[in-house]
């Protein structure tokens, strides 16, 4: 492990490349990137760490927000498992914590459903959308493309703070519904629809299907103030994500440094770019849907409420709305959202696999195209969430065939990951373990899309535990493995210290085994017919044979959850006590590893933007002095790499042929 912190001086070679880059239509080639006055670092604590416009600080803020949210969401999932496994058991601690939700220590069904809803909302929005994109993307996209900051630093700061407001509003739903005192204040009663029902927010699931979510208190507990705050929080989150997406796209297109052509970008940048495009197109639709739902709830409109509804023998005055309209709008967002969660994980995994395999990414160009294909197709398959919704069954067939075809680019990515590992010299560091875990879990979770994507098979399998297993494995756990890989990989750059390898391994093994133990049995539950979102399985005889599996899943969940505290401890401890990290501890190739200091200075490159000479994954280049060649190493110093890769991260033919030629 050696220091690789040489500041990059402009050289004659740089000028030459600048001309090349200009030919490639590269925007940064005009030499617009000299150090700017506004990039002098702030000095006050508040401007530096709280209301910071530094993308790196904002990235860490996002990451900390996501870690906090993840632990809240995980705590909720453990509570759910306890209720499902020991129905009716008295948990004294529960009564202490939630006197309304668990009177006598026994969870009420509405409390359980509010856990379902809040767990889903917190995890999908504030963890899976926040950490991989807002966290790592914010921190590393500008550095990896060689920019001093995001294109719009103030907007960037705003998008974080708006996200935080969204989380605070969501969490406040817990209190207005969970407390009779807060739930009965004038404000809550008059403006939010009334609370204090002993839940932790709404009970309509994270998908919030109307009319259940649109009618307010008459639809049951949790549907008053909690639901209002819940949908408000989602609308706020949409705005934050939009701001973030604009920034990502602009930065990536306009602020790449000399020589950083699109096809020389690390795959992480491609994944953040694709994700940002998805977010830009998907979130406005959810925002619109959210506003319409709020109007239905509070302004007496009927966008999603049909005529003739009867509650307590009284016919509601609403007319003409369509519950299915919400589902179209929601899933038009909701399906791309799945890819918003997983694509950055794919990028990080490709990046990390290549680094520790000490081998170029197999099929870089195919990886880029596959990522875009997934993103594009992701917009045409939302109907597969709705086969049995009452939508026109002919439409379902089109959605179904398109859905199955999305498996093709996903398979391409898997093949290319295996291709990257084939013939490698793998260094089994903790980030590499998690990246390999990602591949395993992505396959395990993604492949069952072949079952769920078929209209016919949804006749039985829809809305059951098979779906739950599928999406938790792929967009939940695989995506989180991508995040863990990212944390362990980039921690040294972000905090200047290494995370403990030993504690990291201790975290990886039980987590990897644990998530298989939780989610594979859930497929079986789905095959037997277990429906989702049931507060108890005691009512149905046909679910009895599943009791041992329910127990197994709960034990696995508790073990897995416990193992996450090893991570938390490692994360906090290493921040202060970890071994000091060198500038490029992993001997990696991309620009985040050539910053003059670690963590990088305020303007990332100390006033001298790097020049890029080659693709991102030049490992194992024959005749090069080391087994890795930095993107910034001029051709003359890099041995024969120029002859091999011509400065482009593109595929040649199979690698063996190259060895003999030089």
């Amino acid at each position: 492990m050696e220091e690789a912190t040489t500041p990059i001086e402009p050289t004659a070679a740089a000028a030459a490349t600048q001309a090349e880059a200009a030919e490639a239509g590269h925007p940064a080639a005009a030499g617009a990137h000299e150090p700017h006055g506004h990039h002098s670092p702030p000095t006050g604590f508040i401007r530096k760490y709280i209301f910071s416009i530094d993308h790196k600080v904002i990235g860490i803020q996002y990451l900390l927000l996501a870690i906090t949210a993840a632990f809240i969401g995980m705590f909720m999932s453990v509570l759910m498992r306890l209720n499902l496994t020991w129905p009716g058991h008295k948990w004294t601690i529960l009564e202490t914590l939630f006197p309304l939700g668990a009177p006598g220590g026994v969870m009420t069904p509405e409390f359980y459903l509010s856990l379902v809803t809040m767990h889903g909302t917190i995890m999908v929005f504030f963890v899976l959308t926040t950490a991989p994109q807002g966290g790592f993307g914010n921190y590393f996209l500008p550095i990896q493309v060689g920019a001093e900051d995001m294109a719009f630093p103030v907007l960037n700061m705003l998008s974080f703070w708006v996200t935080l407001v969204g989380l605070v509003v969501l969490i406040s739903a817990i209190f207005v519904e969970g407390s009779t005192i807060l739930g009965n204040t004038d404000f809550v009663n008059n403006f939010l629809g009334g609370g204090g029902t002993g839940t932790l927010g709404p009970i309509g699931g994270w998908t919030g299907y109307p009319p259940l979510s649109a009618l307010g208190k008459i639809a049951g507990p949790g549907q008053g103030a909690g639901a209002t705050l819940w949908i408000t929080s989602i609308a706020i989150f949409c705005i934050a994500s939009l701001l973030g997406a604009l920034n990502f796209i602009t930065t990536l297109l306009n602020m790449r440094t000399r020589g950083m052509s699109l096809m020389r970008m690390p795959l992480t940048c491609w994944s953040w770019f694709t994700t940002a495009i998805l977010a830009l197109l998907a979130f406005p639709v959810l925002l619109a849907a959210g506003v319409l739902l709020l109007l239905d709830r509070h302004a007496g409109t009927s966008f999603f409420i049909p005529g003739g509804l009867v509650f307590s023998d009284a016919v509601l005055p609403n007319k003409g709305g369509s519950p299915i309209l919400w589902q179209h709008l929601f899933w038009f967002f909701g399906h791309p959202e799945v890819y918003i969660a997983i694509l950055p994980g794919m990028g990080a995994t490709s990046h990390i696999l290549s680094t520790f395999a000490r081998k170029p990414v197999f099929g870089y160009r195919a990886m880029v195209f596959a990522m875009f294909a997934i993103g594009l197709l992701g917009f045409f398959v939302w109907g597969h969430h709705m086969f049995i919704s009452g939508m026109d069954p002919r439409t379902s067939i089109a959605f179904s065939v398109l859905t199955l075809s999305i498996g093709v680019p996903s398979a391409i990515k898997t093949f290319n990951w295996l291709g990257t590992l084939w013939g490698a010299k793998i260094r089994f560091t903790v980030p590499m373990m998690f990246a390999i875990g990602f591949v395993s879990l992505f396959v395990a979770g993604g492949i069952t899309g072949l079952v769920l994507g078929q209209t016919s098979l949804d006749l039985f399998i829809h809305d059951g535990y098979f779906v739950l297993a599928h999406f938790h494995l792929v967009m939940g756990v695989a995506a989180i493995f991508g995040m863990f890989a990212g944390v362990y990989f980039w921690f040294p750059k972000m905090f200047g210290r290494m995370m403990s390898e030993r504690l990291g391994q201790l975290h990886f093994w039980p987590t990897f085994i644990g998530v298989y133990g939780i989610f594979v049995p859930m497929h079986i539950m789905g095959i037997v017919g277990m429906p989702r979102r049931y507060a108890s399985f005691q009512e149905y005889d046909f679910l009895r044979p599943l009791d041992p599996l329910v127990m197994l899943v709960t034990i696995a969940a508790i073990v897995t959850a416990a193992a996450q505290f090893i991570f938390l401890f490692n994360f906090i401890w290493s921040m202060f006590k970890g071994e000091r990290a060198s500038g490029n501890p992993w001997e990696a190739t991309t620009l985040e590893w050539v910053t003059p200091t670690t963590p990088p200075p305020h303007d990332n490159f100390g006033g001298h933007l790097p020049t890029v000479y080659r693709g991102p994954y030049e490992f194992a280049v024959p005749d090069a002095p080391e087994d890795y060649v930095l993107q910034t190493t001029p051709d003359a110093a890099a041995g024969n790499v120029a002859a091999h890769a011509a400065g482009q991260g593109v595929q040649g033919s199979s690698g063996n042929g190259h060895n003999g030629q030089h």
């Binding site: 069904p109 459903l113 309509g204 699931g205 299907y209 259940l212 639809a219 049951g220 049909p306 003739g308 509804l309 009867v310 081998k359 990414v361 197999f362 099929g363 195919a366 049995i388 009452g390 002919r394 067939i397 075809s405 093709v408 398979a411 391409i412 093949f415 295996l418 010299k425 260094r427 089994f428 373990m433 390999i436 395993s440 395990a444 492949i447 072949l450 016919s456 098979l457 949804d458 006749l459 039985f460 809305d463 085994i513 594979v520 049995p521 079986i524 037997v528 005889d541 046909f542 044979p545 599943l546 194992a620 091999h644 890769a645 991260g649 595929q651 040649g652 063996n656 190259h658 060895n659």
Partner: protein, 291 residues
């Protein structure tokens, strides 16, 4: 480390496959005409999924087993940026398999959803409400009486808002259990009074949302007698998990006698049938009754 990880990946693969093949847990037995076709397509898909899953995990395991670094700083991995021919081959193969599977997966769906129920199908209206299923039978005249949401009076047991003044309503029956004949096409019309529900009978191999504001039709033919649990499969609120009823599949003649009963005796007979039919497929009964 690499070898341990490789072995772990294989063990997890074996464990996962075992859960699927041990024979202890699988789809419940089917009771409908489209059941065998459903089960066949499900099995074919699971086999394709299983083979792909195992192949990928075994490959991953082999890679991490074989290609670990020995810690020698002079060692180099194979220098390769990929192989276009391989990319084309594996893309073509997966596209062929996945899309074929996708097309096959439309058959049962098309058969149930792109055709109307045959003429003369037995008709029942399903009216869902928060945490209760109501089944409305047309009675001997085979014509449904008029209903109106304004007439709903739960306390007087008029759950579906049946207009007692309507001549066609005189012989209608409304109960909370679904009794239907075996061997005859059945058409259910699904309506909801309040929020979205979903009618789900595992053995039927059919799930259909019940959406307020819509009257969604579903049709199927039963092949086996018995009594089966009927659940709500779309989150409908607080007591969603308790929104339970039964489907009783009766021989055609028993069904005919049932629907000929006057309203006063109908509920009593249903209660009797629930007792007569233990849960599950009725043993010893003819599997396909006469059409």
């Amino acid at each position: 480390m690499g070898r341990a990880l490789g072995v772990l990946i294989w063990l997890l693969t074996i464990g996962s496959v075992w859960l699927f093949v041990n024979g202890r847990w699988w789809l419940p037995p089917y009771i409908s005409e489209h059941g065998p076709a459903y089960d066949r397509q499900f099995l074919i898909t699971i086999i394709v999924v299983g083979i792909s899953f195992v192949a990928a995990q075994v490959g991953l395991g082999i890679a991490v087993w074989r290609y670990g670094s020995r810690g020698d700083r002079r060692e180099r991995a194979v220098y390769s940026h990929g192989n276009n021919r391989l990319e084309i081959v594996w893309t073509a193969i997966t596209a062929l398999i996945f899309i074929t599977l996708g097309l096959m997966g439309q058959r049962v769906w098309a058969q149930l959803h792109l055709n109307e129920a045959p003429a003369g199908a037995t008709k029942v209206h399903v009216v869902a409400q928060q945490f209760q299923w109501n089944f409305h039978y047309p009675g001997a005249d085979k014509t449904f009486g008029r209903t109106d949401p304004a007439l709903v009076k739960d306390a007087e047991l008029n759950f579906v808002g049946l207009d007692e003044q309507d001549a066609n309503a005189k012989d209608d029956q409304v109960v909370t259990t679904l009794a239907v004949p075996v061997g005859r096409p059945i058409e259910l019309t699904l309506q909801s009074k309040d929020v979205t529900h979903d009618l789900f009978v595992p053995e039927l191999r059919y799930k259909q949302d019940v959406v307020p504001g819509m009257a969604i039709k579903m049709h199927f033919t039963l092949t086996k007698e018995g009594r089966f649990e009927l659940a709500c499969a779309e989150l409908c609120g607080q007591l969603h998990y308790k929104m339970k009823s039964y489907l009783i599949a009766l021989p055609a003649n028993v069904y005919d006698e049932l629907v000929a009963l006057p309203q006063a005796q109908f509920q009593g007979r249903i209660t009797q049938l629930i007792k007569e039919y233990p849960m599950g497929i009725k043993q010893g009964a003819a599997t396909t009754a006469a059409r």
